[in-house]
Amino acid sequence: MKRLLFFLGLLFIACNGDNKDYKALVEQPEFLHRTLKQVTDVIVHDIFSPPVASRIYAYCTIAAYEAIIPQDSSYVSLAGQLHGLTETPKPEPGKEYCFPISSMQAMFKVGRTLIFSEDKMDVFYRQLMSEVETLKVRGDVLKRSIDYGNQVADHILEWSGKDNYKQSRSFPKYSISNDPATWKPTPPAYMDAVEPHWNKIRTFVIDSAGQFKPNPPTPFSTNKTSQFYKEALAVYEAGKMQTPEQREIAFFWDCNPFMMNVKGHVMFATKKISPGGHWINITATACRGSNASVIESAEAYVRVSIALADAFISCWDEKYRSLLIRPETYINQYIDEDWVPTLQTPPFPEYTSGHSVISAAAADILTDVFGESFAFTDSTENEFGLPSRNFKSFKDAAEEAAVSRFYGGIHYTPACENGTHEGHLVGEYVKINLKTKSKKI
């Protein structure tokens, strides 16, 4: 923090000329979009797993939301609505604030605390602040706004410290079972199972991790006439007879934060945005497309993020309940030893499909916020070398995300279908139970 305060100090010295129009000028949602995108970039660099990334998004956006709503009394605080969140500090009455700056500051501070590469965040912050400087916000207002953002951030961080995350770092690793039906580490990195105790993380809105427990997966069998074998064979054949478009869809929604490439003796990781991060980007796209204000953007982000975080907890609860074997392991053992899925198998049990669950939940919220037939172009994957894709609606995108896991050879059909159902249940529940503002954008 020392370095951060140092930057701020510099800033205040430089910030001497006031600009009467600064109030209008700070109403730039781009500051918020860019801050969250920076958090995303560092999440990718630091290799956070998808559930852990969703937790970071949730706390960042809650802080941003809580720090901006004093600006508009039609918005309600999430305190009391989210498990364990107590009343957020209030701004001093009668004093002038720039709440968009508070909001950005709160998001930044929570993000910087929850990621590892602080230096990358600081470089970004310096740039951001030099831009804020040009707005010539009155010195005391700027300071007060930043202080308020920090205050809100501290409140959220203190609350985040009680969600069992820290304790869960030393919970036992997943023990590989000899039961042939169960998940085994997968090639090429044979990584440990990711977050086997994520269901012990405090939920945000849903009652408990198991509230929307899906139907069990198809019973495991190696019998060639069994339903399970047929489902595995379907994955295998879909892989073999893949169309270029299916392949493109698979990669578009790959969202693998740590893919180990093996080229001969040489291994190296490539990293992509996490599934949650992908939907955060879609939210940004929708905000921009609908010219959402700062406060509307903060609202959209927080609702999507909370739905994502609860959806991950729900999904992970099922993953480590059913402990289902991945198609790659099953197919290599019982169908074709040399078969390699289109996508690299992520390191956790198969059922349900995480992308299916969280995409359905996120799409429900986005539909609620931006409307049923909100068409958009998703360019999230451009920076990872993939083309944009167009969608008629959020639901359309979520459905494609779900089936992409089947095309990618990393999920059987029920994980995608039942996962989507599970996601809708979480999404609907969050939609109904999380109140921000009654009026839609």
């Binding site: 590892f116 023990s175 090429p188 040489v266 291994m267």
Partner: protein
């Protein structure tokens, strides 16, 4: 660079300049789009050197392989002058990729032929294997096709030897594989033949058929020829002295090395699972030689463990525990990512040969990215030294590269050249290690060569100038080859032997020669292909130290014939022709002990509990401490019976010895619950009724199972049955041991229960318990008599009157604690006198203590079993191992961090292990390079550093403590006893000379993978010699072969008819050994 960087003044080795030698060969490697490490994973494997006298002028000639350019043949003109005759000789090699080279007289005409391997039929690789037959006029003819040796695939190297003892040289071809390592597969892959990658065995048809051709016999030979065999090197020797040559293949990656034992019928059996306890993981070059002059041939294999702390921490090393387990479940043998020195321990009664990896004990385990290894005596002291070549142009296992490089520095989907560019370079110095004797290697007169860091691959040795000293030739990458002239000034003796064999094996390849002098016995074997892609001169060189005469030379010819030469002269090259041989009959030697199968069905089954999954920073698991054993005559038939404690989920047993056989009683789980490991037990009379009662204590380290870890007392109700007693108070303790003794002299038996570990918080001191027997009122906890109940992580205890005041005292040993002596005072309390008696600096990794009068001077001495010296851990008073306790992640549980000294004091754990437990430390150490040389001071808060370490280990040696009038003296047990952790001792008269020997058993397999299994022990029998020090009687002489994780050894029966020894093992059957009847009991010959 290699040449220019060498200091030449006052060295024992001098680099011969290319200007003098005319040897300008350099293995020039050019990277392009088609040829690079990404297109071909063995792109950086380099080339080899073959040395042999191609024109029989007694001057060894040199042949180099070049990967991409022409191989070169240099004729030795004497005085380190060479002439390049490649073009006239016609031996440039074939195609655009060449690998291993060797020389052998393939057609039996007395002239060395050349075999060159290549890589081809893959992408743009066009190399192929070539056989160049020597025409006798410095020209060669390519007769590959004619001899049936044509092959194009992934050849690493060939070796010529006579596998079927028919008098001609057959060929084993070791091929590597480009099978993707993305999927480990399992061992069923071994049975899928792969033409280009599978190894091949070719039979020479010269004898008896008289044909100049080879026939491939792989399919019927028992050799695996699949693509999971990433074969990089091959060595051949007769490891079990059955007069048939065996094969050792170095395999890269998940496949373990292969040890093919010759079945003497034209087939081989892969026996690594029996004979080797583990092998190198990324096995590269290998050599075979007798490093301790015991007449048995040892094996050394190269891997890539760096010694340097920074490189160690920033490159991928051992697999995480779960991947280790995954590969074991797939059927692959246990492997370690470091060099192995497999000491040949000889054969057991069934003819199985056993090896002990002693690389860490010998100090040869970590030489970084090593290719070639050659074992030869370079200073003529009679002991084989070790020469290792090193260096990798790019380190693909750099962890920052693997995890971070692509994101930051390289564009996504970058081309090969971009990907390679960011891979860090790995130049490393070559290593010369001097054999100091006693299984120890040290620096070779430091600084002699001052090796620059570079990239060296194949190497070969020969006395190039005939001065009685072995010289070295090295094939370097993109640098001129190095010729090292050995200029060791010494008055030491030597002899060189060139063999003239019979039939088609004209140079006697495969022969084993032993030179006996007035002071030494030195054994070597003739085998050209050795090291890395290379072959050395067939002339054997023997350094003979201070010998003043040769008594005799024994040659065991590969066909199973022996020849004895008497009265040869020193300091000469001798040419010995095969003559006057006698047939050597293969027979197993008789031993003192034979195994008895009476108890072979008594199994201990351990439950799988992996504490490393709960405690990520743990170095050692204490979850497999059983079986507990207790001995007594339960049924009053004057035969010893015993109790065998079960692990969690398995029932304990009572084994009643009967006059004929045994009766096993599985004890009811209602009586002795199976909800925790039974780790300690003793029979004693608890209630004074004259019957043997049973106390058991439990452990297992399961964090969530403490409530099951309660000691229990069972009263003997007669008729060999027991019932649970309420005389013992409820105690919850993850215990290690229990010992009964009447410490207060009131006529009844009291108890000491040792606390083993605090589950979930390794390093904290658990409570031990002192219990006083109050007769019918039961046992009472009297811990107030102890100076503290938290004595440490206790493993063993003895009750003994240490100071002769007729009051019994306690001697306690355990993990991370000193040999602790608690002296009983007249008021019944115990006082800690450890420091007073001089034991304050004895903190060790102690497992067991045993008391007897070692030196027969009338007082009791102790033998104490420690971890030993055969792991990567070292400890001394000034450079101890330390255990720091901190709650780094503030989650309420202790994070034990072990530090060790490696140039400085560093945490032993890797960044991956640390950040798994404490993810926020990624903030402190964003890259592996940031953690590379992080000290404990950087890791822990200042106040914790100031408080000092929680626990320490200052010695790892197993010792005996001499009780002498002038105080206690600590003596190390012999080096062989430092090869493995000792878990138990016993006395037994193994050689039936009327005096008992000291027996030791052990091995521990449950360590964090960076420490790895400690499994080099086969049990030891030690005898005190006249100078009052212990000497080991080899297992092959005693017949005492204890495989596996032994926990207890007990002299079971001792009568005029002989003795029976019982060994309890974890997760295996019990073993029994007995002496043979007197008339059969002849001593073995070696």
């Amino acid at each position: 660079m290699l040449v220019g960087g060498c200091k030449q003044a006052n060295t024992n080795f001098k680099v011969v300049s290319p200007a003098h030698s005319n040897v300008h060969f350099s293995n020039e490697l050019a990277e392009d789009a088609d040829f690079n490490i990404i297109q071909y994973l063995y792109f950086y494997n380099g080339g080899g050197v073959a040395i042999g006298d191609i024109n029989n002028d007694s001057l060894p000639d040199i042949y180099f392989s070049s990967n991409q350019k022409s191989n070169r043949l240099y004729l030795n003109k004497g005085n380190f002058k060479f002439l390049d005759i490649t073009e006239q000789a016609g031996v440039a090699g074939f195609g655009n990729w060449k690998s291993g080279v060797t020389m052998a007289d393939v057609n039996g005409d007395g002239l060395l032929d050349i075999f060159s391997c290549g890589v081809g039929g893959y992408k743009k690789f066009t190399g192929a294997n070539r056989l160049y037959i020597n025409n006798g006029d410095l020209t060669f003819s390519d007769q590959t096709e004619k001899y049936g040796l044509a092959f194009q695939g992934f050849s690493s190297q060939a070796i010529f030897f006579d596998y079927d003892n028919d008098g001609d040289l057959d060929m084993y071809l070791v091929n590597h594989s480009v099978r993707s390592v993305r999927n480990y597969g399992d061992v069923s892959l071994r049975f899928q033949s792969d033409y280009k990658s599978g190894d091949k065995l070719y039979r020479n048809e010269l004898y008896p058929a008289g044909l100049e051709k080879f026939t491939e016999v792989t399919a019927t030979s028992g050799i695996y020829d699949s693509h999971v065999g990433y074969g990089l090197a091959v060595a051949v020797a007769d490891f079990n002295d059955d007069n048939f040559l065996d094969i050792y293949v170095s395999n890269d990656f998940q496949e373990n090395d292969y040890l093919y034992m010759n079945q003497r019928d034209g087939t081989f059996k892969e026996k690594s699972g029996t004979s080797l306890k583990h092998s190198s993981r990324f096995s590269m070059g290998s050599d075979v030689g007798d490093i301790n002059n015991d007449g048995y041939l040892d094996i050394i294999t190269m891997d890539m463990l760096p010694k340097d702390e920074y490189i160690q921490k920033t490159t991928a090393g051992e697999d995480p525990m779960d991947i280790v387990l995954y590969k074991l479940k797939a059927g692959f043998g246990y492997q370690v990512s470091r060099n192995c020195l497999q000491l040949n321990q000889g054969v057991d009664a069934k003819g199985e040969v056993y090896f002990s990896d002693i690389a860490p004990l010998a100090g040869v385990e970590a030489t970084d990215w090593s290719w070639s290894v050659l074992m030869e005596d370079l200073d003529n002291d009679g002991l084989k030294d070790v020469f290792i070549t090193n260096g990798i142009p790019r380190r693909p296992n750099d962890l920052d590269y693997i995890n971070y490089i692509l994101n930051d520095s390289v564009q996504r989907f970058a081309g090969d050249s971009e990907l390679i560019k960011y891979m860090p370079k790995g130049p490393v110095s070559n290593v010369l290690l001097r054999n100091l004797g006693n299984l120890k290697f040290g620096d070779f007169s430091v600084g002699d060569l001052n090796w620059p860091k570079g990239f060296s691959h194949g190497a070969a040795m020969a006395d190039l100038d005939g001065d009685g000293r072995l010289d070295i030739v090295i094939n370097n990458l993109n640098e001129v080859a190095t010729i090292i002239r050995n200029t060791n000034q010494s008055d030491k003796s030597w002899v060189q032997i060139a063999l003239q064999g019979g039939k088609g094996n004209t140079f006697g390849l495969g022969a084993k020669i032993t030179v006996f002098t007035d002071s030494l016995k030195v054994t070597s074997r003739v085998m050209a292909t050795r090291g890395w892609q290379s072959s050395s001169d067939n002339v054997l060189h023997f350094g003979l130290g201070a010998s003043t005469r040769i008594d005799s030379i024994q040659i065991v010819w590969p066909e199973g014939e022996v020849q004895l030469i008497k009265g040869a002269s020193l300091n000469k090259k001798l040419t010995l022709k095969k003559s006057n041989t006698s047939t050597l009959v293969y027979a197993l030697k008789t031993t003192y002990l034979v195994t008895d199968t009476t108890l072979a069905q008594i199994h201990h089954i351990e439950n799988e509990y992996i504490p490393f999954r709960q405690e990520f920073l743990l170095t050692q698991s204490l979850a497999a401490e059983g079986p507990a054993m207790a001995f007594a005559d339960i049924d009053n038939d004057r035969l010893t019976d015993f109790f065998l404690g079960g692990a969690r989920g398995n029932r304990s047993k009572l084994i009643l010895q009967k006059s004929k056989g045994v009766r096993t009683v599985d004890l009811d789980a209602d009586l002795i619950p199976t909800d925790a490991d039974v780790v300690g037990a003793q029979f004693f009379d608890a209630n004074g009724d004259g019957l043997e009662d049973l106390i058991i204590v439990r452990g297992g380290q399961e964090v969530d199972n403490l409530q099951s870890m309660m000691p229990s007392l069972y009263l003997n109700t007669g008729n060999s049955s027991f019932k649970k007693s309420g005389l013992l108070p409820d105690i919850l303790v993850n215990a290690s041991c229990v010992k009964a003794f009447d410490f207060d002299g009131d006529g009844d038996m009291d108890l000491f229960i040792g606390g083993g570990v605090v589950g979930g918080s390794f390093g904290l001191k658990p409570k031990s318990y002192l219990l006083k027997n109050n007769g019918k009122e039961g046992f009472e906890i009297v811990n107030h008599l102890l100076p503290t109940a938290q004595l440490g992580m206790v493993k063993d205890v003895i009750w003994q009157d240490v100071n002769g005041d007729s009051m019994v005292d306690l001697v306690i040993v355990g993990l991370w604690m000193p040999i602790t002596i608690l002296q009983q005072q007249s008021d019944g309390t115990f006082k800690n006198v450890t420091e007073k008696l001089g034991f304050s600096a004895t903190s060790g990794w102690w497992n067991t203590i045993f008391s007897y009068d070692v030196d027969s001077d009338g007082d009791m001495d102790w033998v104490v079993g420690n971890l030993g010296l055969n792991s990567r851990l070292r400890a001394s008073k000034s450079q101890p191992l330390e255990l720091w306790a901190a709650d780094l992640d503030e989650n309420g549980s202790n994070d034990p961090i072990m530090t060790y000294f490696n140039g400085g004091r560093y945490p032993f754990i890797t960044r991956d292990q640390l950040t798994r437990q404490v993810p926020s430390l990624k903030r402190k150490f964003p890259r592996y390079s940031d953690f590379g040389k992080a000290s404990i001071e950087q890791l822990l808060p200042k106040n914790q550093i100031a408080n000092g370490a929680l626990l320490r280990v200052e010695m790892l040696e197993s010792i005996w403590v001499e009780n002498s009038p002038s105080g206690y003296k600590i003596h190390n047990l012999p080096r062989e006893a430092q090869m493995f952790p000792i878990l138990d001792f016993e006395l037994a008269d193994v050689d039936s000379d009327g005096k008992p020997e000291l027996l030791a058993v052990g091995n521990l397999t449950d360590f964090q993978s960076e420490i790895g299994r400690q499994d080099a022990g086969y049990g030891l029998v030690m005898k005190l010699n006249k100078s009052a020090s212990f000497e080991v009687i080899p297992n092959r002489v005693t017949g005492f072969w204890v495989n596996g994780a032994a926990r207890k050894v007990k002299l079971f029966n001792n009568s005029k008819n002989g003795i029976t020894i019982l060994v309890g093992r974890n997760n295996e059957s019990a073993l029994t050994f007995r002496t043979k009847s007197k008339n059969q009991n002849t001593s073995a010959s070696r």
